[in-house]
């Protein structure tokens, strides 16, 4: 007569640690949108003061860059950009896609500030760029936060299941 022995369960502690590490990583990712929003606010503070804390460009660089584009063209570009960016983020949200491009938006907005600055239209249009920037980056950060919190929730559920197995 042979006695059947139950096979011992594999050690799940490494798996638990992996899940915990993933949760920490996801928590870090979930705050990236807010960091970029904070960075944009700092950039906007500089733009509000017409970048007077930066040293002025030398005549050589100024002439190499040439005249800035007319302000009305930049305005239309800003309208097109703002509209497309908002639609793009809402589409990303609706299809539950991984959020991308927050840094890109920050770059675009920075370039708009620079264009307005060189075309001497920054003081007139500062609030328009600031509001559209806040809207785009606010939506993006909300999407980032939402997306990664769902992922964190999934990982927490896995952790609970693993804890049950350990018990």
């Amino acid at each position: 007569m042979t006695q059947e022995t139950e096979a011992p369960l594999p050690d799940i502690n490494p798996l638990r640690k992996q899940v915990q590490a993933k949760i920490k990583r996801l928590e870090l990712h979930s705050s990236t949108g807010l960091w970029i929003l904070a960075l944009f606010t700092v950039l906007s503070m500089g733009a509000f003061h017409n970048f007077d804390f930066l040293p002025p460009l030398s005549e050589g660089i100024r002439s190499a860059l040439g005249d800035g584009p007319p302000v009305k063209y930049i305005n239309w570009a800003l309208v097109m950009y703002g509209f497309s960016a908002i639609i793009l983020i809402l589409t990303q949200m609706a299809s539950d896609k991984k959020p991308r491009g927050a840094l890109g938006h920050f770059g675009y907005l920075g370039v708009f500030y620079l264009f307005y600055h060189f075309s001497e239209g920054l003081s007139e249009n500062f609030w328009a760029i600031f509001v559209v920037g806040l809207t785009i980056l606010g939506l993006q950060s909300y999407h980032v936060w939402n997306y990664y919190h769902e992922k964190i929730q999934e990982q927490r559920e896995i952790l609970v299941e693993l804890d049950k197995l350990m018990d």
């Binding site: 800003l78 509209f83 908002i86 249009n125 559209v132 809207t135 606010g138």
Partner: protein, 278 residues
């Protein structure tokens, strides 16, 4: 969870609509302000042109009384704050208010600004100069009075052929009316934006609540009741906004009720069989 669902549906719409409406209004205001300012500058330009043309003959004839009269008449216009004809060194020759300029007034500001272009060697001395100062509420235009053959060949004058600019005409008009119109436009836009925001966000919220959240809430309530053992025919009637999901849920509950009844019937049958065999 349901609270999250509402938040997730409404927050992005709120941010997108609020942001874009405010951004659109700011940009629209900027466009309108630029257009209205350009109109005001065009008006100032045409006024300057009129004065230049009307003083041209008097200057040729060296008719100083007529020049003084023209300057005084132009100054009597409501919007005009300053009219001055300067010589080529930047000294006023004919002025609307000789020696009575209050410091800090629009006229004083126009004079200070205009004199910067009259210094010899200034790069844009021979060009028309314009300035729009929304903060101090004025629009100023300075035009050079250029030399021409009639001037240096006239008997009365001492201008030589080599002198390019013989003097300047400077006009400053108040932009108070423009600023008032812009202020009214600003208030109207703020009120309009607030109304659009309330309507859009309120409308989206109401539609979502009516067509999605309330049917889900009813289904959630029905699921709770069914889990507590309430039969399908006792469940509150639900609307058909969730379509197949609602129908399938009621079918599941119905099948459960049927299975329970079948089980009960089978139990009774077994008991009867047991009783009969005794």
């Amino acid at each position: 969870m349901f609270d999250n669902l509402i938040a997730r549906a409404i927050i992005p719409v709120t941010i997108a609509v609020t942001g874009f409406v405010i951004f659109g209004c700011l940009l629209l205001y900027s466009f309108i302000k630029a257009d209205m300012t350009a109109d005001a500058v065009r008006y100032a330009d045409s006024l300057v042109e009129t004065v230049v043309k009307s003083t041209h003959y008097s200057m040729m004839e060296d008719d100083r009384d007529a020049l003084r009269n023209i300057v005084a008449n132009v100054d009597s216009l409501d919007s005009v704050e300053r009219v001055r004809i300067y010589d080529q060194t930047g000294h006023p020759k004919f002025s609307d208010l000789e020696g009575i300029t209050e410091p800090g007034s629009v006229a004083a500001k126009v004079d200070t600004w205009a004199k910067t272009f009259m210094q010899s060697g200034y790069p844009g001395r021979e060009n028309i100069q314009q300035r729009v100062d929304h903060e101090n509420g004025y629009i100023a235009v300075t035009v050079p009075i250029l030399n021409e053959p009639k001037c240096f060949t006239a008997a009365c004058h001492v201008h030589s052929e080599g002198e390019q600019t013989l003097g300047f005409l400077s006009i400053g008009i108040t932009s108070t009316q423009l600023e008032k119109t812009l202020a009214v436009l600003r208030y109207r836009m703020i009120i309009f934006s607030i109304m659009v925001l309330f309507l859009t966000i309120g409308g989206v919220t109401a539609l979502l609540r009516m067509n999605l959240f309330l049917p889900i809430l009813r289904l959630t309530y029905n699921a709770e009741q069914a889990a507590q053992g309430v039969a399908e025919y006792d469940l509150p009637k639900s609307d058909h906004k969730l379509g197949k999901l609602n129908k399938d849920f009621r079918l599941l509950v119905k099948q459960r009720d049927q299975a329970l009844e079948d089980l009960k019937a089978m139990g009774n049958l077994d008991r009867n069989v047991d009783d009969g065999s005794r």
